[in-house]
């Protein structure tokens, strides 16, 4: 059997080990439920929101010129002056709040105890009382308009990039970098979980020694990287399709424009290359390190494996500023370029030399990392019941 066939066999085995139709369908169902619950949360909270009964009293018949419009969840009935005196001391059981409006357009709330539901009522009172106060001022209509309307602020965009100027039109273009970053995060996390599980389970189930007499450690690791990367891609594609579908459905129901406006096809293709190389890079790092872990529940090294995830997290903070200095540096450094360069390519024009340098560095880094990980894997995979020391690891990295 030639090497590529063996590689294919291992990769397919690793993919199938963790691909179970039942679990995949359950995941889809769970995601759909999460989406439906999120989308319908407003309705749910409204249905289950509590109604609070209240009463309102206007001192000195101030109600004749103005009446407070209470929020829906706190209907207010009018109170008489005799009742108010009594209720200010002790609210009756069927009343949650008493609102007393003074002639100077100030309000007093009488409640049994402070609670969150009162916030809406307070806010509505503040707004409406302020409006009444403004009305009472001897202002011209023009002055009133000035007070009521916020000053207009316009932004003049100097970029020649058409898509950058048409931000309002490009809902999909705007959401895409975030969607890609989330998808990469999911892909990297998938690789992290499965690679660790795959290798530590093999060590604990003592599968390794027999297989190592059939295949070389490097072949085995390469097959694993391919198989687990395939899983990462599957998770990313699935997530992308799911959220794109949800977006389209949501825009259809909301009556918005559901057409996809996107013209950065070259950037998208190059982004795919960066992401694939990045997944191979991260999975190679994880494979090498996982092989040095005997029991993930008791190994301090499990946390070290989270380090490759750091650039992915950092990219979220600079996603809105793709032309900033930090974004440019991160899009060239091979440890972070696989996530940051796609984010930039999908939003802005990246100079050709940055694209070329970034890609070249990433390719070289992937090859170097695969070799280092291969040495680590070959050394670590033969340790059972104990872990190689940091010195052993360092020696393996040095080669």
């Amino acid at each position: 059997m030639n090497r590529s066939q063996q590689l294919k066999t291992i990769a397919w085995w690793e993919f199938k080990r963790f691909f179970k139709w039942k679990q995949e369908l359950i995941s889809i169902a769970l995601l759909a439920i999460i989406f439906l619950v999120s989308a319908g949360w407003g309705v749910i909270t409204e249905v289950f929101s509590e109604q609070h009964q209240g009463a309102i009293f206007y001192q000195n018949k101030a109600e004749q010129s103005w009446r407070f419009e209470a929020p829906d969840d706190v209907p207010l009935r009018a109170a008489g002056s005799m009742e108010v005196q009594q209720w200010q001391q002790q609210l009756p059981d069927d009343l949650d709040v008493l609102v007393v409006i003074s002639p100077s357009l100030e309000a007093e709330l009488v409640v049994r105890e402070k609670d969150d539901w009162q916030d809406g009522l307070v806010k509505a009172l503040e707004q409406q009382l302020q409006q009444q106060r403004i009305k009472q001022l001897t202002l011209s209509d023009q002055q009133r308009q000035v007070i009521n309307e916020p000053p207009a602020i316009t932004t003049t965009v100097q970029s020649t990039d058409v898509s950058a100027q048409d931000e309002d039109e490009g809902g999909f273009s705007e959401a895409l970098p975030m969607l890609v970053t989330v998808a990469i995060t999911v892909g990297v996390f998938t690789g992290f979980g499965l690679m660790m599980m795959s290798i530590t389970a093999e060590k604990q189930q003592r599968v390794t020694e027999q297989l190592l007499t059939i295949i070389s450690p490097t072949q085995w690791m390469d097959g694993k990287i391919l198989g687990i990367t395939l899983h990462s891609i599957k998770s990313m594609v699935f997530l992308g399709l799911f959220f794109t579908g949800i977006g389209l459905v949501a825009s259809m129901f909301s009556g918005g424009d559901s057409s996809v406006s996107f013209d950065r096809y070259y950037g998208a293709v190059l982004s795919v290359v960066f992401v694939l190389l990045g997944l191979v890079l991260i999975n190679a790092m994880l494979a090498g390190f996982s092989a040095t872990i005997d029991d993930p529940n008791h190994s301090s090294r499990s946390s070290v494996m989270l380090l490759p995830l750091l650039p992915v997290f950092l990219s979220f903070s600079i996603i809105d500023n793709p032309d900033g200095g930090l974004a440019q540096v991160m899009s060239i450094l091979p440890i972070s370029s696989f996530v940051m360069m796609p984010v930039r390519l999908l939003q802005t024009d990246v100079t050709w030399w940055q694209q070329l340098l970034s890609l070249a560095l990433l390719v070289v880094f992937v090859i170097w990392m695969r070799n280092v990980a291969g040495r680590l894997f070959a050394m670590g995979i033969q340790f059972y019941g104990k872990e190689p020391s940091w010195k052993d690891i360092w020696n393996a990295i040095k080669g």
Partner: protein, 310 residues
């Protein structure tokens, strides 16, 4: 396929796991490595299959014509001491995976899997995940995965461990069949009775060193050159009555009618017989050959005592 191991040594930091071991296994032979835990058997086997490299010495694999062979996965089978298969995958999946890695076509490996599963009475369970099998059945599946590609050289580290006597017999039969087919089998084991029945040659190891090697007769001759006789009389005289027999190296009364005599290698027992008969009415006088188990316990016991004393 022949194996020649020539003064091979392997050290791990301060421990010499294998100390200048040499052995020769011919095609069609079953060769057993014997010794207590930590004797160096697994270290020797791991070097043989290429998992580790010797610090010194030479391992040579040759074909029947004596030409050197570069040992490749398709040539040999290895059942490690630390072994297991994917617990969450079925028997069929596990066996198919190993077969595919070895380059077997589906049309070849599927009938072989069926044949082996039938042999071990596991046909009905081939879709079950490994974790649902008993330890013994898992061992059988592991052995099948080892032999599926019909190798010429079979290396088995503790093939009988974890098996009940019935399944030990099953494995014994498999190994005998391999020998009949002209395969070379090298195994390590602790089950002396099985090894005695099975092995053509053996190597007894302790602390990484060879204590004896060869056939059972050769091992006996090496480890116990004296001969042991069991004498049955009508009544055994007191021990002091035998003190004038200089030929007797050791005398061990069994009961009032029976005793065991250890004679030097050069003593002619037939010359001794008439003199013995003067002391008691001999009913029987028989040479007793110690079994492998006895030789093992005696030799390893002595070796370990020497090791402790050192």
């Amino acid at each position: 396929m022949n194996i020649t191991i020539d003064t091979v040594t392997k050290r791990y930091k301060t421990v010499t796991a294998v100390d200048a071991i040499s052995l020769d296994v011919r095609s069609g032979q079953i060769y057993a490595l014997l010794g207590p835990n930590g004797a160096g058997k697994s270290s020797l086997v791991r070097m043989l299959v290429g998992l580790t490299q010797p610090d010194s010495g030479r391992i040579q694999i040759t074909d029947l014509g004596g030409a050197d062979i570069q040992l490749r996965p398709q040539h040999f089978a290895y059942l490690p001491e630390d072994r297991g298969l994917y617990q969450d995958r079925s028997i069929l999946d596990n066996l198919s995976y190993v077969a595919r890695l070895r380059g077997l076509e589906q049309s070849v490996y599927l009938p072989r899997i069926d044949k082996w599963l039938a042999h071990f009475d596991l046909t009905d369970r081939k879709q079950e995940p490994m974790r649902q099998l008993s330890k013994g059945n898992q061992q059988k599946v592991q052995l099948i995965s080892t032999l599926l590609h019909d190798p010429d050289l079979v290396i088995l580290d503790e093939p009988f461990s974890g098996l009940d006597p019935v399944n030990q017999e099953h494995v014994l039969k498999v190994l005998s069949d391999l020998k009949e087919q002209g395969k070379t089998v090298l195994l390590s084991a602790h089950q002396m009775a099985l090894v005695e029945r099975l092995a053509d040659k053996m190597l007894l190891m302790s602390h990484g060193k060879a204590l004896a090697q060869g056939s059972l007769e050769e091992i006996r001759a090496t480890l116990q050159p004296q001969r042991l006789y069991r004498v049955h009389c009508d009544a055994i005289a007191a021990q002091s009555a035998w003190s004038d027999f200089s030929e007797i190296e050791r005398l061990h009364p069994i009961d009032k009618n029976e005793l065991e005599l250890t004679l030097g290698a050069d003593v002619d027992a037939s010359m001794l017989w008439p003199r013995l008969a003067e002391r008691c009415a001999i009913e029987s006088f028989a040479l007793r050959k110690p079994g492998l188990h006895e030789l093992y316990l005696d030799t390893i016991g002595r070796s370990q005592a020497q090791g402790d004393a050192a």
